[in-house]
Each structure stands twice: as structure tokens, then as C-alpha cells.
């Protein structure tokens, strides 16, 4: 049994403009200690998945159907009390905006210590000592002195570290990080990612990392799910995703990021814009932007298929899956792109480059 199993999750938001199908029939699982990435652009439904796990979807949002099993227990059918005891304790979350996660009127140390006492039954002084230890561990200098500082006395990077400390304080089994470093400068980002990674390793914590940044995914994750228009379009181990992407959207995304050392003048682009979730295009939602779209793509909606066998993807047996008609044999043409992996002289690592008729 995987640590987390999400099955057929569907979340809608009821707005004035109509029903927004934020997440549609989403299935994935995360193993203990695994680092699972969720990548996509705005409106892909990434953050909604995170909020659903914590059962934090508020009106006008509604979890329509599906199951979210954590250690085998369905979070969606738990009582509010049961959910609360899991939240922050067994599942912790790091948001992009550290400021909103810290209470401005309590000192940073107190907040963390309080969370620990609440969840772990520590005495006051135990909790304080543990907190100082943890603050030092996440790289906050002068931890003992800074214990009693208020959030506003911390810089952005320090606040984010404090949030990490808070998230780890109860030794969670699953850490959900939603764009944890997006608001930070790149030198600070590098440090924080490194800390999240090594702490997760140390505590054997599984991570669900949600981001728009493929660089961050490449650095941290073992396995990745790419989302588009509320649906997963590809799931693969990280190396396969980068060096052998199977879905045209993933291919487009990979080739539109500027890469250092690549001297081509023009970037490849994905034409058009993200679809409107109120009115998703029929068939494959990517078809208006897909260079390989055919008539069939406007008619039938592709399901996630094992890219090797063409059979429906299963959480257990499937390694690499993609939701594209090319894998069910319903496409007459071929996905005509190629990935060349070059040996990068500077880093000795392969750097992939994708070419195709994406233009």
C-alpha cells in the first residue's frame, strides 16, 4: 500500500461564469519517502490537488467525487477532528507565501513549539529546546536568540525556513510543498531546496512538490506528473520525463524554456493560451495548441495509457503513462519530434534538446 493514494478525484468550483472543473478524475499515488513532483502552468489544477489532500477546499469549491487514502484511510470520509489530527502532524504543508503561514503576533519560536506540544505531547521546555534545535537545522543562525523574534523580524528566506521547520516539527510522513521557493531569490532558493531535500531524507519524509519550474522538479523529484487543464497528461520517472517525454504538451513545455548555453535565437513555443476551465475544448483539451492534433483529437478524450503497452495505466504496473491518442492507436500520424541528449561539457551531464514541428 502506498503512503498516499488519490483515486478519481474531481473538484469543481461553482462560479458566476459557470462550473470550473479544476481537477478532473485525478489518480496518483506516492510511496513512503518518495519525492513526487506535480508540474504545470497556471490553471492546471496543481494547487487544488494539494488543498484537497488537506481537505482545505472551501466554497465555492467542492470535492465532487473520488477517494484520497492516506495510509489506507480515506481522508474524505473522516470527521473534522480526525482530519485535524492528521493535518500538520502526519501531513504538513509549505506554501509559497510564508507570510500568511506565520502568525504575526506570536514569536516564530513559540509558534513552532506550540505546534509540537499540540501534536507530540512535549512539555514546554522540551518543545522549546526541540524548536531551537530544528531552527538551527534548517539553517537559521543564532537559533536560540532568534527563537523569540517575530515573523516580521525575519527576512523572506528566513521566514520560509521557519515554515520548513514548522512543517517538519511533527515529523510528518508527507510534506506538501506548493511553489515553496517561487517568491525567493535564486541563491536563497538553491539553499532552501537543498534543505528541504536533505531534511526529507533524514526524516524519511515523502514529498509532493508542486511547481511550474522544471528546473526545481529536475533537482528534487523521483517521479513527476504533468498536469494540463485539470488533468494529468503524463506521469513518469523524472529522467524519463526529461529525456524521453511522451506527451506533446510536455514536449512543448520542455522546449519552450530558455536553456543556458543554447545559442538558438528563437525559442520553441506552444501557440495559444491555457484553456478556460469553464469551457474545456472537447476531446483532448490540448488539441487547439497541439502540433499533432487530428480530427480524432477533437472527438474523443484520451485516457492515461501505458506508453509501452497502450493499455490503461495502472498505479502499480505502469512506469510511464501519457494521455494522448497516439498511444491508443487512434492517431493516424505520428508524434514527430526528437529529443537529442547532448553531453554538456560544463556539467558532464546530459542536456536534452527537443526538436520537432512545434513551430
Amino acid at each position: 500500500m502506498a503512503l498516499l493514494e488519490v483515486e478519481d478525484l474531481t473538484v469543481n468550483f461553482y462560479t458566476q461564469d459557470g462550473t470550473v472543473n479544476a481537477v478532473d478524475n485525478l489518480t496518483y499515488s506516492i510511496e513512503r519517502g518518495e519525492k513526487f513532483g506535480v508540474v504545470g502552468e497556471s490553471g492546471a489544477g496543481k494547487s487544488v490537488t494539494a488543498l484537497s489532500l488537506m481537505r482545505l477546499i472551501d466554497s465555492p469549491g467542492h470535492i465532487e467525487s473520488g477517494e484520497i487514502r492516506f495510509k489506507g484511510q480515506d481522508i474524505l470520509s473522516m470527521s473534522e477532528d480526525e482530519v485535524r489530527s492528521i493535518r500538520g502532524n502526519e501531513i504538513a504543508m509549505i506554501f509559497q507565501d510564508a507570510q500568511t503561514a506565520l502568525n504575526p503576533v506570536y514569536s516564530v519560536g513559540e509558534q513552532i513549539a506550540e505546534a509540537m506540544r499540540h501534536h507530540l505531547d512535549y512539555s514546554k521546555s522540551e518543545a522549546k529546546e526541540e524548536t531551537i534545535d530544528l531552527l538551527a537545522k534548517v539553517g537559521i543562525p543564532e537559533a536560540r536568540k532568534r527563537y523569540s523574534d517575530y515573523p516580521h523580524e525575519f527576512s523572506g528566506g528566513m521566514q520560509q525556513r521557519a515554515i520548513i521547520a514548522m512543517a517538519l516539527s511533527c515529523d510528518p510522513d508527507l510534506l506538501i510543498c506548493d511553489e515553496p521557493t517561487t517568491a525567493l531569490d535564486v541563491t536563497i532558493e538553491a539553499k532552501i531546496l537543498e534543505e528541504i531535500e536533505s531534511l526529507a531524507e533524514e526524516f524519511d519524509t515523502a514529498i509532493q512538490l508542486i511547481t511550474h519550474d522544471l528546473g526545481v522538479i529536475a533537482e528534487i523529484c523521483d517521479r513527476v506528473m504533468v498536469m494540463y487543464g485539470g488533468k494529468p497528461v503524463e506521469k513518469a520517472p523524472v529522467e524519463e520525463l526529461f529525456y524521453d517525454p511522451k506527451h506533446p504538451y510536455t514536449v512543448g513545455l520542455m522546449s519552450s524554456i530558455p536553456r543556458i548555453g543554447d545559442s538558438t535565437d528563437r525559442l520553441q513555443t506552444i501557440p495559444g493560451k491555457m484553456p478556460d476551465l469553464v469551457e474545456l475544448p472537447p476531446g483532448c483539451s490540448f488539441h487547439p495548441r497541439c502540433p499533432y492534433a487530428e480530427e480524432a483529437c477533437t472527438l474523443s478524450e484520451p485516457e492515461l495509457l501505458d506508453t509501452k503497452t497502450g493499455k490503461p495505466a495502472s498505479e502499480v504496473g505502469t512506469n510511464h503513462s501519457a494521455a494522448c491518442l497516439a498511444y491508443s492507436g487512434d492517431l493516424t500520424g505520428e508524434l514527430d519530434y526528437s529529443v537529442t541528449v547532448n553531453e554538456d561539457s560544463k556539467s558532464n551531464a546530459p542536456a536534452s534538446q527537443i526538436t520537432g514541428d512545434n513551430q
Binding site: 502552468e41 497556471s42 521546555s125 529546546e129 531551537i132 534545535d133 538551527a136 543562525p141 543564532e142 537559533a143 536560540r144 536568540k145 527576512s155 528566506g157 528566513m158 531569490d185 535564486v186 541563491t187 536563497i188 532558493e189 538553491a190 539553499k191 537543498e194 511550474h212 519550474d213 522544471l214 528546473g215 526545481v216 522538479i217 529536475a218 533537482e219 523529484c221 523524472v238 529522467e239 526529461f242 512543448g252 513545455l253 520542455m254 519552450s256 524554456i257 530558455p258 536553456r259 543556458i260 543554447d262 528563437r266 525559442l267 520553441q268 513555443t269 506552444i270 501557440p271 493560451k273 491555457m274 554538456d344 560544463k346 556539467s347 558532464n348 551531464a349 546530459p350 542536456a351 536534452s352
Partner: protein, 439 residues
């Protein structure tokens, strides 16, 4: 090379944060040195990337160059004409030649204006076109930036982020400028849309012979679009050169750290990341000498010392901490409550301090070891003043004393760092690969 089309000379922008009567009476001038003595040249048809992290002054620089913000000192020349000397009506005329694109093009605009009016406004202000001609120009501009002319009656909120940025670009193009200063034009956009806008900017540059100053925090974007790059740190330029020069050694240590920190979109990439000490200091009271010395992994050792570079960096961190603290709590790592700092023995304190700063119990350099051990003696007596004096005097880097000037390391490449001083006494001046190996 030809005369630059736009040029900054000794440009400064200081903000006064003195918060009132008491401050000014006591002569406390809290000047934020957002842009501090910058020289910059933009040549015709090129893209100059200006990159740096938040608070480095890049946006202030961009705005000062167009006098959207008045510079404190210095000059900005456009085709030889000093913009800082112009009257406001003369300046208005020049603004048809130099335009500015913001990260969010509509933050300052009336949401009730149609797209046509947004693009038409500069035409009206500068009396460029009216009536039928004005409409046609608007349609043409919309088409130029890849939008449907029939959209000119719509309102900004009806457009996606990428389309809005296209409208912002059309508005800038309306007056047929020569130079556009682009301030983080793609940082709020999704990756796939970002690529579209970057391509559009490149196409327009070619079609209309534009010159760009491209301000951004994202190094991969800057690398992609720029011919030349200036890397800023705390109000100053740390390194400047062609894109290739900046992305290859020799590096300014800050630029090097910045490059190493970019998360590469390749899972097997295993380049070494350089981590910096501490955080960016306040621009109100920037560090003396080289502003990067408080964090620089390569900060230079005094001639009399010889120790691994990492150890020296840690000693500098220790010094900085000690100079600003007056309690043992903030310099010794105490995670165990049984340790009482008020009655601590010398040896325990010694150990705790070295643990906090990751220093060996015996420094590799005997002379430096003497300094730190005497400082610990003083600290055991809680004599902070003498301890501070000891380390201030004993651990003094040349980097703290003299502000490094930008100096040429190639015809177009310039770096502001003492490692590249000609003075052969400085370590690293002749052999920079040594310094690399130390990290």
C-alpha cells in the same frame, strides 16, 4: 565600437529614509544607496541584460535612466544629449524615443480604458495621429504584436497575461521608439507564454531596429535574450561583458554563485552549487570595501595568513557576528539547556563557538589560531569590547578596505573584484583556478 545610443555616467539614486526631525537633527542620514555610481552603455540594435536579485537596484536603475525617477547624481546621455539637463517638455519629446515596459503593464492604467485607448493614448499625448489615421495605427500595432485588431474595443481584464503583455508592448511601440527598457516583462507569465513574448521581442527588435535594456532576475531568460549583460549587486555593477563572457570564467564571485544556483532543467545535472553566507545586507549601510565581502566565498585572506578558503570564510562570518552582538547567546550554538552561558568554562565556550561557525578546534593557521583563542579568552570574561577589537584587527580582509573598481579582463569584459587586481601580491590575480579549487 560606435557611440552608444544610451549611456549612464556615474548614475546614483539615493533615497533618504531619515524618519523625521530627530534623525535630521542628529545628522543621521539614512541613505538607501539603491543605485550607486553606475556606468552603463547601450549600443544601437543590441540587448543589454541587467540581472540581479531583489534589492540590487536594477529596477531603480532602469527607471532612473528614463527619469521616471529623478537621479540623485550623474548623467544619462541619449544620442549624446544629457537627459538629466532637460526640461520636462523636452523630456517628453525624448520619451517618444525611449519607452518603458513594465512587468504588469496595466497596474497603473485605468481599467475602464479599452485596449484601443490604451494604445492610442501615447499617440494623443505626443500628437502623432488622430481620427482615422489613429485607428489604423492602433489596428496595425495590434497586428504587429500578434493580436486581433478587432479586439481594440475590449477591456484589459478580458485578456490573458500574455496578451496583456502584448498590449503593453504595442503601447510602447506606438510612438515608434528607438530604445525600450523592459522591466521583468515575462516574469509573471507561464513558461509557454513567456517563450512567445521573448520571441516577439526579438522579432520586433529586428524589424524596427530597436535597442533594449532588459531587466530581469531570471538568468536563463537574460542569457537567452541578451547580447551583453550587467550583473548587479547592492546598487553596483559586479560584472559586465558579452553574454558568453559573463557566463564563462573568469567570473566575479557573485556572478559565479548566481550561475551555480540556477536549477537546471536536467535531472542528471550535478554541477557544484556555491552557497553564499548570510543574506543580502541592507543598502542603507552597505558593507565597506567590496559590498559582497560579507558573503563572498572567495573573500581574500590577509597576506600573513594561509588557510583553506572555507576556514577563512567561516572566520569572517564569526567576525561579522561578533561585531554586531553583545551576548554569548548569539555567537555560541547552545542547543542543550544544561549549558549555562553565565557560568560557562572557557573550553566549553570555545567548543560551542567553533561548532556554531563550523571551525576546527585548531585553525590551520597558527597566527589566526592565536587571534581566535585570545578572543575566546576575552569572551569568557564577557569582555566583548576587547574580543571585538581582537578579531576586527586580526581578521581583516583586503576586500573590506578598498572598493574594487570594474577592471578589464578582456576587451569587453569587466569585473569589479580584487581577485583580478593587477597587483601580483593579491592571491588569485594571476591564477584564478587556484581560487576555484579551494571552494
Amino acid at each position: 565600437m560606435s557611440e552608444p545610443i544610451l549611456e549612464a555616467r556615474g548614475l546614483k539614486k539615493y533615497y533618504d529614509t531619515a524618519s523625521g526631525f530627530m534623525d535630521s537633527m542628529l545628522g543621521r542620514s539614512n541613505k538607501v544607496k539603491a543605485v550607486d555610481d553606475i556606468d552603463l552603455e547601450l549600443h544601437e540594435g543590441e540587448t543589454l541584460g541587467v540581472v540581479g536579485e531583489s534589492g540590487c537596484g536594477k529596477t531603480t536603475l532602469g527607471r532612473t535612466m528614463l527619469r521616471l525617477i529623478e537621479p540623485t547624481e550623474g548623467s544619462v546621455y541619449y544620442k549624446g544629449q544629457d537627459l538629466t539637463e532637460l526640461s520636462s517638455s523636452e523630456l517628453r519629446d525624448v520619451r517618444t524615443d525611449i519607452q518603458y515596459i513594465f512587468q504588469d503593464p496595466f497596474s497603473s492604467l485605468n481599467p475602464r480604458m479599452t485596449v484601443g485607448d490604451i494604445i492610442g493614448e501615447p499617440l494623443d499625448i505626443h500628437g502623432i495621429a488622430e481620427g482615422q489615421e489613429r485607428d489604423e495605427r492602433i489596428y496595425e500595432l495590434l497586428e504587429t504584436v500578434g493580436l486581433n485588431p478587432s479586439h481594440s474595443h475590449r477591456y484589459p481584464h478580458e485578456f490573458s497575461g500574455g496578451q496583456r503583455q502584448r498590449i503593453g508592448i504595442a503601447r510602447a511601440l506606438a510612438v515608434d521608439p528607438e530604445v525600450i527598457i523592459c522591466d521583468e516583462p515575462v516574469s509573471a507569465l507561464d513558461v509557454s507564454v513567456q517563450a512567445q513574448i521573448l520571441n516577439l521581442l526579438e522579432d520586433l527588435q529586428e524589424d524596427f531596429g530597436l535597442s533594449y535594456i532588459f531587466i530581469a532576475h531570471d538568468l536563463s531568460v537574460v542569457e537567452h535574450i541578451s547580447d551583453r549583460i550587467a550583473v548587479m549587486y547592492l546598487g553596483k555593477i559586479a560584472e559586465t561583458g558579452t553574454t558568453d563572457e559573463v557566463f564563462e570564467p573568469p567570473y566575479h564571485p557573485y556572478a559565479e554563485a548566481l550561475l551555480s544556483a540556477i536549477p537546471e532543467p536536467d535531472p542528471l545535472w550535478d554541477g557544484e552549487q556555491i552557497y553564499l553566507s548570510g543574506s543580502v545586507p541592507s543598502p542603507i549601510d552597505p558593507p565597506t570595501g567590496c559590498r559582497f565581502h560579507t558573503r563572498c566565498p572567495r573573500v581574500i585572506q590577509p597576506e600573513e595568513y594561509n588557510m583553506p578558503q572555507k576556514e577563512w570564510r567561516q572566520l569572517m562570518d564569526f567576525k561579522q557576528r561578533l561585531l554586531t552582538s553583545d551576548s554569548l547567546k548569539s555567537i555560541a550554538q547552545v542547543t542543550d539547556e544544561t549549558v549555562d552561558l553565565d557560568s560557562i568554562t572557557r573550553d566549553t565556550l570555545d567548543e560551542l563557538i567553533r561548532r556554531e561557525f563550523d571551525l576546527p578546534m585548531q585553525l590551520s593557521d597558527m597566527q589566526a589560531e592565536q587571534v581566535i583563542s585570545q578572543a575566546v579568552d576575552r569572551l569568557t570574561e564577557e569582555n566583548f569590547e576587547d574580543a571585538r577589537a581582537l578579531v576586527a584587527d586580526g581578521f581583516k580582509s583586503p576586500c573590506e578596505q578598498v572598493d574594487p573598481e570594474l577592471q578589464s579582463t578582456g576587451t569587453t569584459h569587466r569585473i569589479a573584484c580584487h581577485l583580478y587586481d593587477d597587483d601580483p601580491k593579491q592571491p588569485g590575480a594571476t591564477n584564478t583556478s587556484d581560487a576555484v579549487a579551494d571552494d
